[in-house]
């Protein structure tokens, strides 16, 4: 799918990977793109591995199957690296973004066990989440990280879009809007790669 940006999210039930994929779709939609955001539902329980997907394109998207050869992979939960081959089908020019306190170099070595030698980015979404929200919600920092790495859209437009989304999503608890925005912005800066 040469003209379509394809992103695959790996997370565990309850961490918000599905929500993150939908928020990314909304943000890209706001820039005038055609988008898809959809989860792959398995057993719907907390902690089970889940996958979610994004397609983003300048043209209408008709394809309706899962993504097997993504341009980017986002790993919301580091423990999945021992359970799932998250690099499966990942395109050579693409990149993987992992939520971890490890360095990109350390992560690159770990992923070499899957014969993956492409670009690796890391962001400590746990640290960011705990310091901004005081609770562990890794999805919003990961959203910031993928926008930065995959260059999905202009950062300023992205931040405005996220602000609108959070105002809508958290209308009943507005005190969490600013910390979520802080988490997104920090990830844009703190994500690092090799």
């Amino acid at each position: 799918m040469s003209n379509v940006l394809e992103i695959r999210w790996h997370g565990r039930g309850g961490q918000g990977a599905k929500t993150a994929s939908l928020l990314l779709a909304e943000a890209a939609f706001d820039t005038g793109k055609y988008i898809q955001g959809f989860p792959e539902y398995g057993p719907e329980r907390m902690g089970a591995p889940i996958t979610a997907y994004n397609r983003i394109s300048d043209k209408p998207i008709t394809i309706h199957c899962n993504i097997y050869e993504p341009d980017y992979v986002v790993v919301v939960d580091e423990t999945l690296l021992d359970v799932v081959d998250v690099t499966s089908g990942l395109k050579a020019h693409g990149a993987i973004i992992v939520n971890t306190e490890k360095t990109p170099e350390e992560m690159k070595e770990k992923l070499s066990t899957y014969n993956y030698s492409g670009r690796v980015y890391t962001v400590d979404a746990k640290k960011i989440s705990m310091e901004t929200l005081g609770r562990y919600f890794p999805n919003t920092p990961m959203l910031g990280a993928v926008v930065k790495v995959a260059n999905v859209m202009d950062e300023k437009v992205f931040i405005e879009s996220m602000d609108n989304s959070f105002k809508h999503k958290f209308a009943s608890k507005p005190t969490v809007i600013a910390p979520n925005m802080e988490a997104v912005k920090r990830a844009l800066v703190e994500v690092k790669g090799a």
Partner: protein
């Protein structure tokens, strides 16, 4: 001016229901249709509609409540999936034979067992001869558009039949994508006010609905019901033409994609048609004359029109997302092959069962089908027409080797 938006299929349908503001919605939750009444109940709670929302204790009761409301003279709606539809079974026939033009979204899902929450068309195929009009949508836009048109079709005086708005569970219902909504007033004007000719709350002309109908009249009533289904075809085309004038979006009995010179073609219902379009575009770049027919109107079945549209093809694959269990293939396959009998053309026709229980339908699955059709054209050999694609074959050497490796 259309409203550009991004919604899931379920939310899009719930928005259509809000715009229509029906008299009664009675529903019982079942995955993946649950969000439809869930979203709609929030519109009721927020006062955006003045619908009577009836939270019933089963799907049998949901359909019964819709039947009562529609017979009384109101507009009734609901949504369901899979086992929920199966539990409505008795009442589906009563809604249709009582000529009650309600609209139900069927968010298609596999039937148990084994229990499975994912998409296929076994629920929709199970009720295909219950007397409901059946429309199938490929994506969120079509689920929304078909829902709005469904009211006008069902309520038409020559039809008066209930309509199922079918779209694929999860693939369409839970996927967020771009679409265009209509302004509330346009939808309201398009569907108009429901003015039934006969209804139970009409004190000036009292009627009975659903009484005992013995041999002197039952047969005639059934024949009239069948006549109404035949009438529906033209009404669907009229309503679709009017809808096109308003929106620019063209709907027919089915959509033909790159069929003008197609030598090999697929016939599909639902979301996989979109994936097939992508595959066709790639094949066309390689010079393969591949095409697609996506059926929108499954009941009434557009037999003559389909036969004409397929007559110039050399080989056709009919894609069934529900197995037939008749040992002779899926329902769509048998109906299309039957439709071709009256024509002079005799293209090779094969059947593929695909995507059962949510098995993802990949582009290479569909490429395999087109490859097989090209092979039939090249060799003239059809072989067994009752086939599967995307299923793991336990007799496959590679599969056995993998299983053996896993045991070690």
């Amino acid at each position: 001016m259309a409203i550009r938006d991004k919604l899931s299929g379920n939310e899009a349908v719930a928005v259509a229901m809000r715009q229509i503001n029906p008299d009664v919605v009675a529903a019982f939750p079942i995955t993946p249709s649950t969000e439809v009444p869930q979203y709609f109940s929030s519109y009721v709670a927020d006062g955006l509609v003045d619908t009577e929302f009836v939270a019933v204790e089963s799907e049998h009761s949901a359909m019964s409540a819709c039947i009562g409301a529609q017979a009384a003279g109101g507009r009734a709606m609901t949504a369901t999936s899979s086992a929920g539809l199966a539990l409505m079974w008795e009442m589906l026939y009563i809604a249709a034979s009582s000529r009650l033009p309600m609209v139900m979204s069927l968010v298609t899902r596999a039937l148990s067992g084994p229990i499975n929450i994912h998409n296929d068309h076994s629920d929709a195929m199970g009720c295909r001869d219950s007397g409901w009009i059946q429309l199938f949508g490929e994506n969120n836009q079509e689920a929304y558009d078909n829902f709005i048109m469904a009211l006008r079709v069902g309520e038409h005086k020559d039809v008066q039949l209930p309509v199922l708005n079918c779209y694929d569970g999860f693939i369409t219902s839970h996927s967020v994508e771009n679409m265009e909504l209509l302004e509330d007033n346009l939808v309201k004007d398009f569907v108009g006010e429901y003015k039934p000719q006969h209804y139970m709350l009409n004190s000036k002309q009292q009627i009975a609905v659903g009484p005992l109908d013995l041999p002197p009249h039952y047969f005639e009533h059934k024949r009239l019901q069948a006549e109404a289904m035949r009438n529906a075809k033209n009404v669907i085309l009229e309503v679709s033409a009017e809808f096109e004038k308003m929106t620019g979006r063209k709907y027919g009995l089915f959509e033909e994609y790159r069929m003008e010179d197609a030598e090999i073609a697929m016939v599909i219902l639902g979301s996989t048609a979109g994936t097939a379009k992508y595959v066709i575009d790639e094949l066309r770049e390689k010079g393969v004359k591949a095409g697609l027919i996506k059926i929108r109107v499954f009941r009434p079945f557009p037999a003559e029109e389909l036969a004409a549209a397929l007559s110039h093809c050399k080989a056709i694959a009919i894609m069934d997302k529900a197995d037939g269990f008749n040992a002779k293939g899926g329902a769509l396959f048998n109906e299309i092959r039957s439709a071709m009998y009256d024509g002079d053309a005799r293209p090779a026709i094969v059947n593929y069962i695909y995507g059962l229980g949510g098995r993802d339908v990949r582009t290479n699955d569909l490429e395999k089908v087109y490859d097989a059709l090209a092979e039939i054209v090249a060799t003239g050999v059809v072989g067994d027409p009752y086939r599967y694609v995307g299923v793991i074959d336990a007799n496959d050497v590679a599969v056995q080797a993998e299983a053996a490796a896993a045991r070690e």
